[in-house]
Amino acid sequence: MLLLRRDSFPLQSSDDIVKARQIVRTWAAELGFKLVDQTKIVTASSELARNAYDHGKGGIMIIEAIEDGDRKGLRLTFQDQGPGIPDIEQALKDGYSTSGGLGLGLGGAKRLVNEFHIESTVGKGTTVRIVKWV
């Protein structure tokens, strides 16, 4: 797998979530994503960025343009040093929310992308990595 481009952005305020979305949209458009897929990855990033900000008390987003053989893609990593998720399976379940939200963010984000990887340690923080191929 080839790394074409990499950058990282802070997620420390709700304005940062808006900025993160805009950056993901720009990169996705430049990589040649169709409008539907642009919208999907932007929406997924919005969910995960907000999770990192709301639940993880702020974190960072790493954005990478990657190439694997003849396909290109976008890899996003969301890291926070929040309280962590004790039961990931439960957190991924639709309708489960600890914050009064719809409880669709994490599971929804997973359904919007091609690859989804989550790692969480209670007391240490959470890292979510997603990939969407063009």
């Binding site: 539907v36 919208t39 919005s46």
Partner: protein, 284 residues
Amino acid sequence: MEKQKSIVSLLKAKQDTILQEWEKEQFSAGKFRADLISPDELKQQMRDFWDSLLKALGQEERVDLSDEGWKPVRSLLTELSKSRAKLGFTPSETALFVFSLKKPIFQLIQDTFQNDPARLQKELWDLNTLLDSLGLFTTETYIRSKEEIIRRQQEEMLELSTPVVKIWEQIVAVPLIGTLDSARTQTVMENLLQEIVAASATVAIIDITGVPTVDTLVAQHLIKTVSAARLMGAECIISGIRPQIAQTMIHLGVSFQDITTKATLAEAIKYGLSQVGYRISKME
């Protein structure tokens, strides 16, 4: 006190030379913004600042900008920075107003105390500290007034971007544009509910054509608004759901199940009119 006074009297005695040199600095190539300020205005500002600076130096023993004696200097610089921020000066250009005074003053101090190195160093250091803090003060004020401008514009935008329009008797619509953050959604919700009462509306259309991303938070805000409108006796229609948004929402798992949705605002208006007993038809 003694020493301070002597510096003040020295500055006063040589003020013509200093002002002349300072003027030369201010008007030197690349520094003077003839497009933003007139020479007379700048000279007046320099004169005023110089007078208040000498006065403060003469009055106050310590150089502490928060002391009462420095108040005139502070308010003068505040005015200057604010007006410069509005006029479009850069922060550097604004701070340069003070910093360009360094050269003529330091020159004078150097000439005066060249035979007394210890004194020379002490005076240079004191004046340097003073001018630095005054320069930083202009920068801080400049940034604060810029922030003030941004904040005001944000508030204006918040108001501007959420107009509730009356479509027909009993029908109101709100076209949403841009990012729906929490503050804006709150404004939208309040405006819409108020307008429902004011217009005795029974149909409220929320058009999201201009919303680039509908994630779960936005969806939740929309659902809440619809529920609140419903409690007030108005039926809500969400229109302007573009194909890519629809597909994304399906994957997210968000459903607007018992909410009436339409692809376009035109469809929503047509449907709304039929709900209150009107029909759109072509003239024969």
